[in-house]
């Protein structure tokens, strides 16, 4: 970090300005990177809006004539319902996830109590039990737990799509780590003024956690929005399909062309890309905290 302005690359290569061949090589490599990582996504956009299909010929990179027909067809085949369900599940799920994680983090970061080490170990252990590994018994459990919204069990219900994603170790870790950095004096001062835990939590700790809450929100959004196996287990009627299920159900019914499938995929993709672009700084910081410090 000390010499950001020095013309050295990561390898420590000096890059003299006159070496234009080196610049040319770099530009070619940049083009290759864009071609490999961005071009496929661009073909998706082009396919959706150009109306060309595999059957009529090659997909074009530049829409010859602009059309919304694919989008309209996609909505006829359940994309609207899928988007609505995904928005409900992600919105409610994310809100609950951040709330309960912040509550837990407050206890873990700001309190000393008997059994704290056991709780930390239990939270760590949940990292090793993702849905993929416990899918079968999770499915059976979902069939046994009564739906708090009134149904007989959690299968084919919003509760079943939402509740299992609410408890997640990552935001608890992020928030616990962040809350530990808040100086104790702030809390003590409030305690002298007669504030109790709930008040301290809501009026002092939580507002100070805003940056960490942002990171958690980005990760939580991507995690819940991208859920596939859980909806696959829970939703049995198209009425409860989330966007990921709608996209895959479109691809298994063959009569729609890839233009329609790409339209649905695009609508699944756009919200996460927008969230990432809007909150990139928060996202990258959280990613590094998560992967380097665990």
């Amino acid at each position: 970090m000390s010499s950001m302005s020095a013309p050295t690359t990561a390898l420590g290569l000096r890059m003299p300005t006159k070496a234009w061949t080196r610049t040319a090589v770099r530009v070619v490599l940049y083009a290759a990177v864009l071609f490999v990582f961005v071009m496929p996504l661009w073909t998706m956009v082009a396919t959706v809006f150009s109306g060309t299909t595999l059957k009529t010929g090659q997909m074009s990179l530049f829409p010859g004539h602009f059309t919304l027909a694919n989008i309209r067809t996609a909505f006829r085949f359940g994309v609207g319902r899928g988007l609505l369900n995904s928005v409900i599940v992600t919105g409610v799920g994310l809100f609950l996830q951040v709330t309960v994680s912040a509550f837990a983090a407050y206890a873990l970061a700001r309190k000393k109590f008997r059994g704290q080490a056991v709780v930390l170990l239990a939270i760590l252990a949940t990292m090793m039990m993702p849905e993929e590994v416990i899918a079968i018994p999770l499915y059976l459990v979902l069939g046994k737990v009564p739906d708090p919204l009134g149904g007989s069990d959690l299968l084919d219900s919003y509760s079943g799509l939402i509740l299992p994603v609410v408890g997640w170790a990552l935001p608890i870790y992020v928030l616990t780590g962040f809350m530990k950095t808040i100086p104790a004096e702030l809390e003590e001062a409030a305690r002298v003024d007669g504030a109790r835990d709930l008040r301290i939590f809501f009026q002092i700790i939580l507002p100070l956690c805003r940056p960490a809450l942002g990171t958690c929100a980005v990760f939580g959004f991507l995690m819940i929005w991208d859920q596939y196996l859980l909806p696959l287990l829970v939703a049995s009627t198209p009425h409860m399909y989330t966007m990921t299920l709608v996209v895959t159900s479109l691809s298994s019914s063959q009569e729609q062309g890839e233009g329609v499938r790409m339209a649905a995929s695009l609508m699944l993709m756009i919200p996460s890309v927008l969230v990432y672009l809007g909150l990139q700084r928060l996202f990258e910081r959280g990613m590094l905290n998560g992967s380097l410090k665990g």
């Binding site: 050295t8 390898l11 420590g12 252990a125 499915y139 895959t248 995929s265």
Partner: protein, 320 residues
């Protein structure tokens, strides 16, 4: 913000004397009776503990329990001991699924770390255009796996009309069957996984590279070390901790690969891309072999726990 205003003087409303800053102890101001003090942390933890209990611990333990039973809805479960385990592990389909999973995890993790490292070397730096390029290259990572799978299903469409095949046609190659032939399906799936995860590794390596002291390079350059030597003796040793974490976490994640396989190929053609989780999903949900599926899940869970503990232990030992 009322807090900061009141801070020097304590609350004007409370008539209690101010505590001198020095001898404030956590219990000094208004000590609660004992039981609320003990209960408070648990009340804050309760929602998370209940959720983890119901959706993580209960399924895990129940899965372990069920793996010793023949699960018969309406008839009652029948104890079969280790039968589920031995049936599963004598199943050739599972053995090849395990093979595919291990190959897939090792190859994709290694390939995306390598590619990510290359990308990081190329795109590391504070310049604005590099930042934009990194952002663009990162888009596959944030795109939902299902959307990525659908996209590549279209790009890899077999026959001359597929996007990639028509490109290959211009170069005088192909057409390749990609996902539709058992010979190329696993490789194609791995290619897509690397496409999605390499930029992720790139960002981690970029952070690792930014943390290397540039003076080391200067020193190496003065000693007359060429680019290759600097890479080998300065860059790679400095990145070793980052690399081991990227690799081990990637392999643990790779063991539970599901969505991309299930959406891209459904495990086919002819079981050529079947992985452990797609196998258990089919056995459990589609074939109703819940006991056997639980047995396989239990073993997968234990392997995951073992690998995670090894990683943690290893990392702690390194840091100590």
């Amino acid at each position: 913000m009322a807090l900061t205003k009141d801070r020097p003087g304590g609350s004007p409303r409370s008539g209690r004397p101010r505590f001198p800053a020095g001898n404030r102890t956590p219990s000094a101001p208004r000590a609660l009776p004992r039981w609320p003090r003990v209960a408070t942390p648990w009340l804050f933890l309760a929602p998370v503990l209940v959720l983890f209990g119901v959706f993580k611990f209960w399924p895990t333990l129940w899965g372990m329990y069920l793996s010793f039973f023949e699960v018969r809805p309406y008839l009652g479960n029948r104890w079969v001991g280790w039968d589920n385990f031995s049936t599963a592990f004598h199943d050739a389909a599972l053995r090849s699924a395990v093979e595919h999973t291990v190959v897939d995890a090792l190859v994709t993790v290694a390939a995306s770390a390598l590619l990510g490292f290359g990308l990081a070397l190329l795109l590391e730096g504070p310049a604005r255009h590099l930042r934009i390029l990194r952002t663009a290259a990162f888009l596959p990572v944030v795109t939902a796996m299902v959307a990525v799978a659908e996209l590549w299903n279209t790009i890899l469409y077999p026959g001359g009309y597929g996007t990639l095949n028509s490109l290959l046609g211009h170069l005088g190659l192909g057409p390749e069957p990609f996902l539709s032939s058992p010979h190329s399906s696993l490789a194609s799936v791995m290619l897509i996984q690397v496409w999605k995860s390499a930029p992720y590794d790139m960002v981690i390596f970029v952070a690792g590279l930014a943390g290397i002291d540039r003076q080391l390079y200067e020193a190496a350059a003065i000693d007359g070390a060429g680019a290759w030597h600097r890479l080998r003796h300065v860059t790679l040793p400095s990145l070793r901790p980052v690399t081991t974490i990227v690799l081990t976490l990637g392999i643990i994640r790779g063991l539970r690969v599901f969505t991309e396989i299930y959406v891209l190929t459904g495990g086919g053609p002819a079981g050529s891309t079947e992985t452990i989780v797609t196998y258990t999903y089919k056995q459990g949900i589609q074939n109703n072999q819940l006991g056997m599926a639980s047995a396989v899940s239990t073993v997968l869970f234990l392997v995951t726990v073992l690998l995670t503990c090894l990683t943690l232990w290893w990392r702690r030992r390194k840091e100590a």
